[in-house]
């Protein structure tokens, strides 16, 4: 009896050890992120913190707590912001439940603010309980990540090639379409495993927006431009991974895989990622400088609903996106309205300094000013909050 129990324990411990060993074998993805010779040298040096000052007067009598919900992509940023901001005596509780769920919670008015990586469409706004302010908070690239033996970061790909890969028209890594863009590399004949998000996602929206603009094959295969872009699309082939971690996990585990994730995930998982050809024909590495360049030459509409993909600047990384805070324009609770104004004016100014350490890119000056102007449109029972 005693021996039996002992042996059970011993085997259990051995099993745990085995699990542990299995878990640690996958970190050999090999992440050298050396800039490729020949690529446009955009990503040189370090980006300085923007150092915006908060000019908005602090609203008195603010509520001591706020609740928000939405995008998982902005969750690390929110968590950093809310923990730093807590020193002002205001607790901001952010539930990272997904962009679509965030929009639903806002529509049901069960949270003080929502957050989505894809802006609310007119059909979404029709279901809301009033006009909604949509305010960009940070910028970030979606990177095309891959796991091909012997191929480091910096593989060059254009939109049409990526589109053909994700529709199954290019099936091996040494396809002439890929090889011709990477003459210095010897590509293997490994079959390509495409990996996409199985859940609805703002990341998918940004990625498919780029493919729709750059890949006629992608649009044709999906049956038209209205069907080829969205938080979910009808992927013709491929492995579906749940969440950014599901995609990065599948890419990291599968030889020959290609997928798309937010840059932060590729960096923490040590995955290689591609230089993507932009509108002006240059292959651009995703980094702070090239993401910021994506906002150059963008004319922002009054409601700040815009896309940053396929920017016209020659240094722009073409698969760039943002995330929108969603706030009802007309508030009915004075304390909540004051707290919302205080928190977001802080996040858009002082808070922008915290973005770089988490691999997000702060908003450029002109966009940041427009966002603050948008925030000032908030009213309390019809009266402006900030004079």
């Amino acid at each position: 009896m005693r021996t039996a129990t002992l042996s059970t324990t011993a085997v259990a411990i051995a099993l745990l050890g085995l699990l542990d060993a299995c878990g640690s074998t996958d970190s050999a993805a090999g992440a050298t992120n050396a800039s490729t010779p020949g690529a446009t040298a955009v990503c040189q040096g370090t980006t300085a913190k923007p150092g915006y000052t908060n000019g908005l007067p602090q609203q008195p009598n603010a509520a001591s707590s706020l609740s928000g919900a939405g995008s998982t992509f902005v969750a690390p940023m929110m968590s950093q912001w809310t923990s730093t901001y807590a020193s002002n005596g205001v607790q901001v509780a952010y539930q990272s439940i997904g962009s679509g769920a965030g929009i639903k919670q806002l529509q049901a008015a069960t949270v003080d603010f929502g957050d989505s990586d894809a802006y609310m469409k007119d059909s979404d706004l029709a279901l809301a309980k009033g006009p909604v302010l949509q305010i960009p908070l940070v910028l970030a690239p979606v990177v095309v990540t891959y796991n091909v033996k012997g191929v480091p970061s910096g593989l060059k790909l254009d939109g049409q090639t990526i589109g053909k890969i994700f529709t199954g028209q290019i099936t091996t890594w040494n396809d002439p379409a890929i090889q011709s863009q990477n003459t210095s590399l010897t590509l293997p004949s490994t079959p390509i495993a495409t990996v996409h998000r199985s859940d609805g996602s703002g990341t998918t929206d940004i990625f498919t927006d780029f493919l729709t603009k750059e890949s006629p094959s992608w649009v044709a295969s999906l049956g038209g431009a209205t069907k080829s872009r969205g938080k979910t699309v009808a992927w013709p082939i491929g492995i579906g991974g749940k969440g950014n971690e599901g995609v990065s996990g599948a890419v990291g585990q599968t030889d020959g895989a290609i997928g798309y994730v937010e840059l932060g995930y590729a960096l923490t998982q040590h995955l290689n990622y591609a230089d993507v050809k932009n509108k002006s024909g240059a292959y651009i590495e995703p980094c702070n400088q090239s993401v910021l360049a994506a906002t150059n030459g963008v004319s922002y509409p009054a409601d700040l609903r815009f896309d940053l993909t396929d920017g016209s600047d020659s240094h722009a990384y073409p698969i760039t996106g943002t995330t929108w805070a969603l706030i009802y324009q007309n508030q009915t609770n004075g304390a909540k309205a004051a707290a919302l104004t205080n928190f977001f004016s802080w996040a858009l100014t002082t808070g922008q300094d915290l973005t770089l350490s988490l691999n997000y890119q702060p908003l450029g000056k002109d966009l940041q000013q427009k966002c603050l102007a948008q925030l000032k449109k908030m009213t309390l029972n019809g009266q402006p909050i900030v004079p």
């Binding site: 009896m1 021996t3 039996a4 129990t5 042996s7 059970t8 085997v11 259990a12 699990l19 299995c22 878990g23 074998t25 996958d26 439940i97 997904g98 962009s99 679509g100 769920a101 929009i103 639903k104 979404d124 079959p191 495993a193 199985s198 859940d199 609805g200 996602s201 049956g223 069907k227 969205g230 938080k231 979910t232 699309v233 009808a234 992927w235 013709p236 082939i237 491929g238 492995i239 579906g240 991974g241 749940k242 599901g246 996990g249 599948a250 585990q253 599968t254 020959g256 895989a257």
Partner: protein
């Protein structure tokens, strides 16, 4: 004498309705009836809830239109178009059935062997430890099985899958069921993970059944000169066959509904039935887990409730069959 008289009075005393209901008997009866009713009502309420939640989609597309298509493309849903239904669910029913079948084909023989070994062959000292080890498998959370599936099982299955794809996959006719390329995420992998998850359930039930195999049968078989293997076959395995069926169907119930572990390794391909078991697919449970948080397309969420309804129907039917078989086994 007096006790006897007392007993007589007790029996003779007429028991009115009020006495019955106010006494302990009636109260106890009421409590257990209420409890049973709660279970029944919960299941009924669940069916009604799923139908009510899915009603908009059912009204828009028709009740059976979900079962006539194998194409799930929420992004193509249009509130003004009701045909064709973009929320076809045949591929999910197929995925649920196929992964469960693979699981059963692998798990049942292994579970029966494990149970036979524990009850008839293992040294007495080992039996207890082995039993607890098998039970321990049931205690592993399914998300851990999913992780293990991705990081340990997929690399291990890779050579097997590639071998199948390059040999059986090249054979005409049946080759289509094993055609490559094999990337790991597949019905096959999901089936193997499920097999390991249902193994302890089947093994535990079989172990109990084999332990109660009549001793005199075993003795009789031994007396007739049967070897140990023949004793196990004649006196333990044969009389337990229908009970093994029941145990297997209990395991099948678990396999049909398993969500997270399957979602993590099946590859989540929702657009069509993938003919190759080495290809990606999806199950009814996995599509719900994947999509309900971001179900923002027209009728998307309602369609997921319809999937939930059919999953419940499949699970209930399987459970009813299991109960029938177990009942038949007990009657033997």
């Amino acid at each position: 004498m007096s006790a006897e008289a007392g007993a007589e009075t007790l029996v003779a005393r007429p028991r009115g309705r009020a006495t019955y209901w106010l006494g302990g008997d009636g109260f106890f009866r009421a409590v257990v009836t209420a409890c049973s009713a709660v279970v029944l009502l919960t299941i009924l309420a669940m069916v009604v809830f799923l139908l009510v939640q899915g009603f908009d989609a059912i009204r828009h597309y028709g009740f059976f239109s979900f079962l006539t298509s194998a194409r799930w493309a929420p992004s193509e849903a249009d509130p003004n178009v009701s045909s064709p239904n973009p929320y076809g669910i045949l591929q999910f029913i197929y995925g649920t059935m196929l992964t469960s079948c693979i699981a059963m084909v692998i798990a049942v023989p292994v579970a029966v062997s494990v149970a036979l070994y524990i009850t008839n062959f293992a040294p007495t000292r080992l039996r207890r430890g082995l039993s607890s080890l098998v039970d321990l498998l049931a205690a592993v959370p399914s998300v851990v099985y999913g992780f293990w599936g991705i990081f340990a099982l997929i690399p291990a299955l890779k050579p097997i899958g590639e071998f199948l794809a390059s040999t059986v996959g090249k054979v005409p006719v049946i080759g289509v069921a094993f055609s490559g390329p094999f990337f790991g995420y597949s019905y096959f992998t999901a089936g193997v993970v499920l097999a390991i998850m249902v193994l302890p359930i089947i093994a535990a039930v079989c172990r109990e059944i084999f332990a109660t195999a009549p001793l005199n049968w075993k003795e009789a078989a031994t007396a007739l000169g049967a070897t140990r293997w023949e004793v196990a076959k004649i006196a333990v395995y044969r009389p337990s066959r229908s009970a093994i069926m029941g145990a297997s169907i209990l395991g099948l119930g678990r396999a049909l509904g398993e969500t997270i572990a399957v979602t993590m390794v099946i590859g989540n391909s929702v657009l069509a039935i993938n003919k190759s078991i080495l290809g990606q697919g999806a199950t009814m449970a996995s599509v719900i887990a994947n999509e309900f948080t971001e179900a923002t397309e027209p009728f998307h969420l309602q369609a997921l409730f319809v999937v939930g309804f059919w999953l419940l129907v499949v699970a209930l039917v399987v459970n009813i069959i299991a109960r029938r078989i177990v009942a038949a086994a007990v009657a033997l």
